[in-house]
Structure formats: structure tokens, C-alpha cells
Symmetry: C2
Subunit: 203 residues, 2 copies
């Protein structure tokens, strides 16, 4: 198997961190996200959504979508459990991962896609007002995570999980989207120091 990805893009990084936490090595193949490649039939044949990362299995089947790839490896090698063990753990982690993803990560991505000049060919139409609105949404939702991180060590509770990976990548993505990280979010600052210095963060 191999993973087709783009090293600088945020979703591939989520998968790399996930695999690093599990100690799983998979060969990576770089895909340049330029407009010609994105529009190519070859890319669409791997993923009709024209997104990376893509896990290509030995028989050629493609598993797309970051969370689908992570869940596949969670099943193949359950430990350390990054999606939880019991029903309640799994539900809590899924809840917090989605709050981090649908709340924060998506808002940051929308701000980036709709305001950054280099996205003008890929996000058509770019709607600047929507990009600006998402800068505010991102801060508001980071505030919710900040409240949470005053109460718990990690985003989903006592243990590091996929929700921390999503949040870390979203927070680092804020720089590209030109959203300043509020210094008063002490819970986030404390947590960021902890998760960003794990070896996996550099994957």
C-alpha cells in the first residue's frame, strides 16, 4: 500500500501524525496540488472529490477521506487507541473530533480558501465575505476548545486522541489562513505546548 499526499497540506498531516502515534510506516507518494494536476483525469480516477490524502491498497482500491484512512489503521492496529475503547469513549472522542473538525478546522479552511490569493483557481468562486466570517467563527470555536482545555488535559478527556490531532493541525493551519491565535486562550496555550512537542507532531 501507499499514501498519495501533499506534504504541506493540512489533511495529509493529520494522517501522518496518526500513523506516527501508532508507529506505523507507510510509503508516501507526493502529489503536487497545482491546477493541472487537480483537474487531471488521473487524479479523479484516484479520488473523484479531487482531494488528498488517498490510501491506495495493494489491489488498487483507494480509500479517501482523512478520517476513513485513520479508522482503517485503527482497525488494523488498535493500539494505542486513538478513537477510544469503550462505547462511551468512542462517542466522546467522535464528538470532540467533530467539534474540532466541523467547528474549528473547517472555519480555518474556509477562511484560507476564500481569502488566500493562491486559492483563486481552486475555490471558484472565492467569496471574500464568507472568508472573513469564518475568521470570526474560527476564533469563537477555538474559544470553546479553550474552555474545554481548562477542564481536561486533552481535547476529548484524559487521553491523547484523534481529536487532539485534528485540533493541532487546525491551530497550525491558522497561520496560513492569517488568523491570529489569541494569547488569552490559556487552556489552548498549555495544551499546545504539550501536543506540539510530541515526536508525532513533526511527522
Amino acid at each position: 500500500m501507499k499514501i498519495v499526499e501533499t506534504n504541506a497540506a493540512p489533511n495529509p498531516r493529520r494522517v501522518r501524525i496518526f500513523l506516527a502515534e501508532k508507529g506505523i510506516e507507510v510509503p508516501y507518494e507526493q502529489f503536487a496540488l497545482n491546477i493541472e494536476n487537480i483537474r487531471s483525469d488521473q487524479f479523479a480516477s484516484l479520488n473523484p472529490m479531487r482531494q488528498v490524502p488517498i490510501l491506495v491498497l495493494d489491489d488498487g482500491e483507494c480509500i479517501c477521506e482523512t478520517m476513513a484512512i485513520c479508522r482503517y489503521f485503527e482497525e488494523l492496529q488498535p493500539e494505542p487507541r486513538l478513537f477510544g475503547g469503550t462505547a462511551l469513549e468512542k462517542a466522546r472522542i467522535e464528538m470532540w473530533n467533530r467539534r474540532a473538525e466541523l467547528g474549528l478546522f473547517f472555519a480555518v479552511a474556509q477562511a484560507f480558501r476564500h481569502l488566500h490569493p493562491k486559492m483563486s483557481e481552486r475555490e471558484v468562486p472565492q467569496v471574500a465575505d464568507w472568508g472573513v466570517a469564518n475568521k470570526s467563527k474560527a476564533i469563537e470555536r477555538l474559544g470553546l476548545l479553550d474552555q474545554r482545555l481548562h477542564e481536561t488535559e486533552f481535547v476529548a478527556g484524559d487521553s491523547y486522541s484523534v481529536a487532539d490531532i485534528t485540533t493541532l493541525v487546525a491551530v497550525d493551519f491558522m497561520a496560513a489562513a492569517r488568523i491570529d491565535r489569541p494569547e488569552e486562550f490559556g487552556g489552548v496555550v498549555r495544551w499546545y505546548e504539550e501536543v506540539s512537542t510530541r515526536p508525532s507532531a513533526g511527522a
Copy 2:
């Protein structure tokens, strides 16, 4: 336990269909999504994201996010498996569920939230250009699902899964978002006839 929900909203319907497929009965408590209720401290205490549905456990813990609630019940009662059994099935269903959700469902929701007059207090600012752009995105992504449904009986393959629930609710949500369903999408038409007449669809 109980589920706090709003009967007419699309995400609660996803949970109701999911539970109906499993034959699980949970008491529902209706929550009116008017602006006073949405802004209330009581709602924020149940879910800081101020969204329904919310699963309230017997000890008061709240599990929010539609997919987290569904996964909780999948763990409590695995059969019939709506998220798949093997690692590969789970990965495929997650991939297709996310294509249906992040692709189609979200586009329909954005069109609804940014164009419908009754959402003007809840989606601030409403960005009409973004709503219009999402009508096109919704049709494009329904087209991808249509291609898929010419090849497989259900969205994720041979078996009914949570990906069918997400797609069904998204397709029905198109009416509220005033997006016409293209009649030439024969794969979707064939599949819709099948899944919309299952008893669970009326849940």
C-alpha cells in the same frame, strides 16, 4: 436516557432513521429552534455548539454530534451493522458517509442557511453569494453519488449503511434549500425509490 431534538431538522432525522434501522427506541424531547432558545444558557449547557440532536445519558452527560450519537448506539447494539464489520468495510462506509456529508449534505445546508429568509437570525452574516455557490456544489456532488449509484446498490456498496441515511436526508433537505433534483440522475432516482420506502425513512 433521552434525545433532545427538533423533529423538522435534518440532523435529528439522521439519528431517528439510524435507531429505527436498529429497532432501538429512545424517548425524544422536542426543542424549538427559535432564536431565544438557541441563545439560552440552558441550551449552551447541553451543547456549547448550540445544535441538536443531543443524547442525554442517565447521569446527565451529553453526547452531541449526530455521528457520535449513532456510533454510540452502534457500539451498544452492533447489529445490523450500519458502520460496517471488517476494517475495509468500515473504511469504505466512512469514506462514502463523509462524501455524502461533507460533500452533499453540507452544501445543501449552506445553501439553506445562507439563502433562506428564516435563517437570517441564526446564520449571521448570511452571505448570499456563498449560498448560491453551494447550490451548484450540491448538484455536482449529487452527480458523483449518481455515478456511484449506477455501480452499486447502496451508497457504500452492497449493504444499506449510515452513508445511505446521510444521503437520503441530504436529498430530502434539498427541497427546503430550493435546489431542484435533476431528473437525469437515474442512479439516484433508482436508489431513492429503494431507501425512501424503507419503514425507517418515516422515523
